[in-house]
């Protein structure tokens, strides 16, 4: 069976290679891909949308409809992960572990036992061997604000340089995940609750779709940002540039929230009690 598979793969592979004989050469300036549509984008993108980064102009304006659904794909992936993995039956653990921070003594508190109230001295831990991680925690605490700041820069600067909502959103999400890894899942969930995260997932996509619907209500076609000019107080071309920024922000929020949702569910096998 394996040999049969290999033979089929070899035949298909060679047929596909045979099909590539008539491909245009690498970086051939006269190939159809660089003569049919690309000149239009290169020549008029700035004029049409006031966005110097042609990639962003194509991605979020000329083919903004594709990007809207790409965002929806990410949303659907996060939702699918939640749908398949999340387990709501909460089984209270038999033993809770608390560490007394100043002395380093770990308390095992059985079910029904008295739980320490003063949370500044006691820290709840998941297993007995959780090491002290002062260096990791402090380093992450120093790093995370800058990571988040850089993410905002990437989102906002998509018009001029490589970047945009997807990349910035991933960096934002990575910042939060770093926090969850360096502390624990409970600490991260205290900052960003599961339900809030779910709202953010929807809100991000909603900003994108809502922008399109707003254009529709203003009398233009769906996602035709130039119709937003009266609302934004600019001319139609600048309105396209602003419209792109708005949807990029939506994409950023959605991607960040989905990243967090994926981490919460995957790291805890859907129970969301204790993380990695």
């Amino acid at each position: 069976m394996k040999k049969l598979g290999l033979i089929i793969v070899l035949i298909c592979g060679s047929l596909m290679l045979y099909g590539t004989i008539d491909f245009p050469d690498w970086a051939d300036p006269s190939s159809p891909a660089s003569t049919h549509l690309s000149p239009y984008f290169i020549e008029t993108a700035m004029h049409d949308t006031a966005v110097p980064n042609i990639v962003t102009a194509v991605l979020a304006d000329y083919r903004g409809y594709d990007t809207m659904f790409e965002t929806t794909v990410i949303f659907a992936a996060g939702l699918a992960c939640f749908f398949l993995l999340r387990r709501f039956q909460r089984r209270a653990p038999d033993v809770n572990l608390f560490r007394h921070m100043p002395t380093g003594i770990t308390l095992r508190i059985k079910k029904g036992g008295k739980v320490p109230v003063d949370s500044s001295e006691f820290e709840r831990i998941d297993s007995i061997w959780v090491p002290y991680d002062l260096i990791i925690k402090t380093t992450c605490r120093l790093l995370i604000p800058f990571i988040l700041l850089f993410a905002l820069y990437v989102i906002a600067h998509g018009h001029h340089s490589p970047g945009g909502g997807f990349q910035g959103g991933v960096i934002l999400g990575a910042g939060i995940i770093l926090y969850a890894i360096s502390h624990n899942l409970r600490a991260a969930k205290a900052r960003i609750k599961e339900r809030f995260d779910a709202y953010m997932c929807s809100a991000g996509v909603f900003i994108y779709v809502g922008t399109g619907v707003l254009c529709l209500l203003m009398g233009a076609n769906f996602l035709d940002y130039s119709a937003l000019a009266p609302l934004l107080g600019t001319d139609p071309i600048m309105a396209r540039s602003h419209g792109i920024l708005i949807v990029e922000i939506g994409v950023g929020i959605a991607v960040m929230a989905v990243m967090i949702c994926l981490y919460y569910n995957l790291s805890s096998a859907g129970r969301q009690d204790e993380g990695l």
Binding site: G19, L37, G64, F69, F206, Y225
Partner: protein, 496 residues
Amino acid sequence: MTQHLPAIIIVVPLLSALLVAVFGWIKKTICFVIALPAMGIVFLSSIVLFYKVITENQPIIYFLGGWSPPVGIAYNIDHLSSLVLVLISGVTLAHLIATRQTVIEEFTNKVSAFYTLYILFVTGLMGIVATGDAFNLYVLLEIASITGYAMIGMNSGRAYLACFNYIIIGTIGACLYLLGVGYIYLVTGSLNMLDIASILPGLVDSKVVPAAFIICMVGLMVKMGLFPLHGWLPNAYTYAPSSVSTLMAPLTTKVMIYVMVRVALYVFTPVLSFSVIKPGNGFTWIAVAAIIMGSLMALSQQNIKKMLSYIVIAEVGYMVGGLWLGNRMGITGAILHIVNDAVMTLCIFLAVVSFSSYKKRDKLSDFQGAFKEMPVTAAVFCVAAISIIGVPPTCGFFSKWYLISGGLAAGHYAFVAALLFSSLINMVLFFRIIEIAYFEPFSDHHGKKHHVKIAEASPGLLIPLIIVACMLIILGLYTDELVTHVISHAIPAEIV
């Protein structure tokens, strides 16, 4: 507002999916309340679009973002796509109402996530049908696939494995389609279907075009579950939650066949598809194999859902074979069968769900006495069964008639024989169930007969079921109108 209808059929469900995701956290019952009007609007809009296309007798083209193609993305709603749009939205509406109770039972505390995925799935399918852009089609295919995988996996037992198989195989299929689009883009520089269709005939000598064609088609065959590539289908439809398999079995494969028709006739143009590349004969032989193997494998199943899944595989063979006969009769039969088979499959799967509403009936032997307990469901089941067998006046007969005429006109007698063989097998399959359910005595272990009480499914399930069953006969009676006013315009004029 009517000029924005092509956007509305996509945007309304998309927005409602987001609303369901948010408000479902707050109150579970609100999901259905949001989903139902959204689907209603989509259904009505689709009908208006369908009516407009027929009366004006020209396609409606909508520029998304205000950019005219090939620069931007355009929706191109012609006779073919408007027909399938009405089909998808109608099937979804009936299914949504019919499975309201089942969904609450199956997804107790994840109802909102389920409905969000459900609506996104339908949005994806609607978009696939409406779009006039080859890459946009892939993006929407991704949406329909990811949500489909998630919904299939949400059952205990073997559903996980079935879902995992489907993810791997389905992703390969979608990637192959994308690769084919990439090949096309390399030689044309365009992604808009109409634009590609105008450029490709000038490239008949290029070796890239046949390669792109074959890769696209193989990808689509994987997604539709055509016989040697059907591996994912039976388990996915058998072990999925019943509210999911009843939606996916009628829609997924049919929409993929629509895409195949669209790509073959409107991207690669009939000249390339039927005269230059000429895969027709080979593809029809694959379809013959699919019909025969699907029918035979259906015969050997004891689980009713699995049996129906194999019938779906055989039906995929009908449509693919009809399309690649390459004559007007055969393609008419294929398109007509897309419509008929979606309604038939919906009807028979819903009837099986209805049979299981009080006690679980998976195996054929579980059906003993089912007809006495549920007379209405039994009647609906019989209507769907005779439609799948192909008995007039139900719609299954007419599409089969066109397919057989197409086969005779093309001189492909093996295809005709396979169709007749499959009808015979279907007859055996369904009469076996009818025999078990109607004639076989059912008794307890002591040989005493039970006192039979009529225990019908809830009216929420029965009413849509009856409407769908009536549609089978109505579609059959109005076949002629459907063919002359819609389908004959959907096939390019150069096909005779």
